[in-house]
């Protein structure tokens, strides 16, 4: 097995240490995509190879994936670390957060600069008119129309807390957050709550008041890394420290949400604006294609190899006792009836996300054709030859090796080939649990209704299937005894 791993690594399939790309992840919302892309491009500019695993489904999936070494870096917020992940009291210092993370093999790099927390936004004209700059000034301007979101109105870290800290004695009306911006725009509201990096702040030209009594919890964005990340990579990411203040983050968000920029070019623009000479855009479709195909190949190859070995050994172990081999086939069949999405979902609590659960699922799906074909072929080996083998004095093992397996080989290989093709098809679903591969563009393409993206996955998958068939033809040429290949056509 060791030798196998090394061999595969030589072909660039296995992420061994040497030359292994850095896996940059993001959560599935705009800001996180942008931050991921910025880090990725910075690393690439510094000459490192990057594997993007963007859009993972939530905080915990990102964190677990980082712990498991599935990913190397993503951007997390200090408040989220404090409350959601580490479940600590409020106002934990970044030093303390880092200490706790260090004991788990992770490490925080310096904050990128901005703090994505609640903010109090004021229409620019109003702010200018009254020279509003700090929240505490609000006590002096009671007749300004303050309307806040329902959530803010009720959360302890929203209005109720703020009221106590700043000493406000009135209760504003509530509004739908999405509507508040428009209400500000048309002047029907003067002041509302916001997130400090919302793109809307730019779009509607709003002024954010300073939280001068430091009431709001801090949600500083910081790259969270595995501490075995190479010093070179760490240094490159560290170069980004403090380069993104609230307003530039907000305008980056706005450029994507309102101006339709894509993540890659928005990130490129930002990096250039802060002096990093990154290459144009990203979107090296060809690289994507190669990486996805490699990942796909790797997923199916591992699953198939394991299934082949396990399947054949299982078949050899049980084929001589009908009821046991039936039982094995039933179980393999039951596994097959679990719909692939459900099976992948079932894997998550056991194996987390990433390649492992995908490989396990593919392995389970591959078993049935291999075991069934092997058992059938072994059982139907000519009884005369079986008896001859015994009579010659072959041991149990040698019988299997020299009589049963070679005679059953064509059917066994047929089972493996069927399993291989099914695996290549099913592996496209692995994208759902962050295992990557050719499913990535297909799934994204299906969601965005983008045919060219779908084809970026579908065509290589088809090519892979054909290539697999060709490979197996080669294998068959070697493994299938010559007498079975005589398809002479007597008239």
């Amino acid at each position: 097995m060791k030798r196998l791993v090394v061999t595969l690594a030589l072909f660039g399939w296995l992420p061994l240490n040497a030359g292994e790309p850095i896996v940059v992840a993001s959560k599935n919302f705009t800001e996180s995509y942008l931050l991921g892309e910025i880090i990725a491009q910075r690393l690439e500019q510094a000459g490192m190879e990057v594997d993007r695993r963007f859009g993972l489904g939530g905080t915990l999936i990102c964190f677990e994936a980082l712990l498991a070494g599935e990913i190397d870096v993503y951007v997390e917020y200090s408040g989220t670390l404090e409350r959601t992940i580490l479940k600590l009291g409020q106002r934990t210092s970044i030093l303390e957060l880092n200490e706790r993370l260090l004991s788990r093999g992770l490490s925080l790099l310096s904050p990128l600069g901005f703090n994505n927390t609640y903010a109090i936004a004021v229409r620019k004209e109003v702010a200018e008119e009254f020279s509003l700059e700090r929240i505490s000034q609000l006590t002096d301007y009671r007749d300004l129309r303050v309307v806040v979101s329902h959530e803010f109105l009720e959360r302890e870290d929203g209005w109720p807390g703020m009221r106590r800290v700043y000493g406000f004695d009135w209760i504003p009306e509530g509004i739908e957050h999405g509507l508040a911006y428009q209400a500000m725009a048309d002047g029907s509201i003067d002041i509302t709550d916001a997130y400090s990096t919302d793109g809307e702040l730019q779009r509607y030209d709003l002024t954010v008041l300073a939280d001068d009594k430091a009431f709001f919890p801090t949600y500083l964005a910081m790259p969270l890394i595995r501490d075995d990340l190479s010093p070179r990579a760490q240094a490159a990411i560290e170069d980004l420290a403090g380069t993104l203040d609230d307003s530039s983050m907000a305008s980056l968000n706005a450029s994507v949400v309102f101006e339709g920029a894509d993540f890659a070019s928005a990130a490129t623009n930002h990096l250039r604006s802060i002096g990093f000479d990154v290459a144009d855009g990203r979107s090296n479709t060809f690289d994507d294609l190669i990486r996805n195909t490699q990942r796909h190949l790797w997923l199916t190859a591992i699953a198939l190899l394991t299934a082949t070995v396990v399947g054949i050994v299982l078949a050899l172990a049980v084929f001589q006792v009908t009821w046991i081999s039936n039982a094995v086939l039933y179980v393999a069949g039951l596994l097959q009836t679990i719909p692939s999405i459900a099976l992948l979902a079932l894997m998550i609590p056991i194996f987390g996300i990433g390649m492992l659960p995908a490989v396990v699922a593919l392995f389970l799906y591959s078993l049935l054709p291999i075991v069934r074909n092997s058992v059938t072929a072994l059982v139907t080996v000519d009884p005369v030859l079986r008896r001859v083998g015994k009579a010659m004095g072959l041991t149990r093992y040698d019988e299997l090796r020299y009589v049963y397996v070679p005679l059953a080989m064509p059917a066994i290989l047929a089972g493996v080939r069927t399993a291989a093709v099914i695996s290549i098809g099913t592996a496209t679903l692995a994208a759902f649990i962050g295992a990557g591969g050719l499913g990535d563009p297909i799934v994204t393409g299906l969601a965005l209704n983008d045919t060219s993206l779908i084809l970026q996955g579908a065509i290589p998958a088809a090519v892979l299937a054909i290539a697999t068939e060709l490979m197996f033809e080669g294998i068959e040429r070697v493994l299938v005894p010559r007498h079975l290949k005589v398809l002479e056509q007597p008239r």
Binding site: L385, L394, R482
Partner: protein, 242 residues
């Protein structure tokens, strides 16, 4: 005289029907015993019993001075060369592989294997070029001789030969007879030869067994049997065939 195989009151049935019962027979060591008998009377079955491929339903059987072992059957069987009726070559192996498989598993050195195979091919009048062919590329008689080579490969002390020369022409057969006799003296093997050719039996065997359906009709030294047949039918057989 040492005995090599002893059957006492042995019986064997298939699907509830007895092929034979109460068969008692002793085969002397370093001698050839020929079995002659009606088609379907159980000769092949008898060889398979001795080899342990089918099990005895009745009676006691001892081979090479011990009952057929419960464990270690492979080792036991390697001391018995068995030329199955109709050759029974492995279709997925070349002639060479069919013949030398067991020697390789026994760990024989390459040179010893090569010498033995060459010698056997010569004895059997087989062209060494046939070694790389597959069984389906051989004529019937060639296959049969390859089967014989395979049986004799490990120089076993006991040979079970089931109609081993039936598909071979008289001239080649005559040559093989000669070699066989030499071999028997040199390697001092015991042999049990099933044949339908009474002349062959008389030529090669020191002992002769006549089998009828379900029992043994006569058993003794060849010369004795020929001179005093136990029944009219044996007498007639001897008269017409010799």
């Amino acid at each position: 005289m040492d005995e090599c195989v002893r059957l006492e009151d042995v019986g064997k049935q298939f699907d509830g029907q007895w092929v034979f019962r109460h068969v008692s027979l002793t085969l002397p060591q370093r001698q050839t015993t020929a079995i002659v008998g009606e088609s379907g009377c159980g000769k092949t079955t008898l060889l398979q019993l001795i080899n342990g491929v089918v099990s005895v339903d009745e009676g006691v059987l001892s081979v090479l001075n011990a009952p057929i072992p419960e464990t270690g059957l492979p080792a036991f069987r390697r001391k018995i060369g068995y030329a199955v009726q109709g050759a029974g070559l492995f279709p997925h192996m070349t002639v060479q592989q069919n013949v030398d498989l067991m020697a390789r598993l026994e760990g024989w050195p390459e040179s010893k294997i090569r010498n033995r195979v060459r010698r056997l091919f010569e004895l059997m009048g087989l062209d060494s070029a046939l070694g790389t062919r597959y069984p389906y590329q051989l004529s019937g008689g060639q296959q049969q001789r390859v089967g014989l080579c395979r049986a004799m490969m490990l120089e076993p002390p006991l040979l079970l030969l089931d109609e081993p020369f039936s598909a071979i022409d008289p001239i080649t057969r005559e040559e093989i007879y000669g070699h066989f006799e030499v071999l028997q003296q040199q390697e001092s093997v015991s042999a049990l030869l099933v044949t339908h050719d009474l002349r062959e039996a008389v030529r090669l065997a020191q002992f002769l067994v006549f089998m009828g359906s379900g029992q043994i009709l006569q058993h003794g030294e060849t010369a004795t049997v020929i001179e005093s047949p136990a029944s009219e039918s044996i007498r007639r057989l001897i008269e017409t065939q010799l």
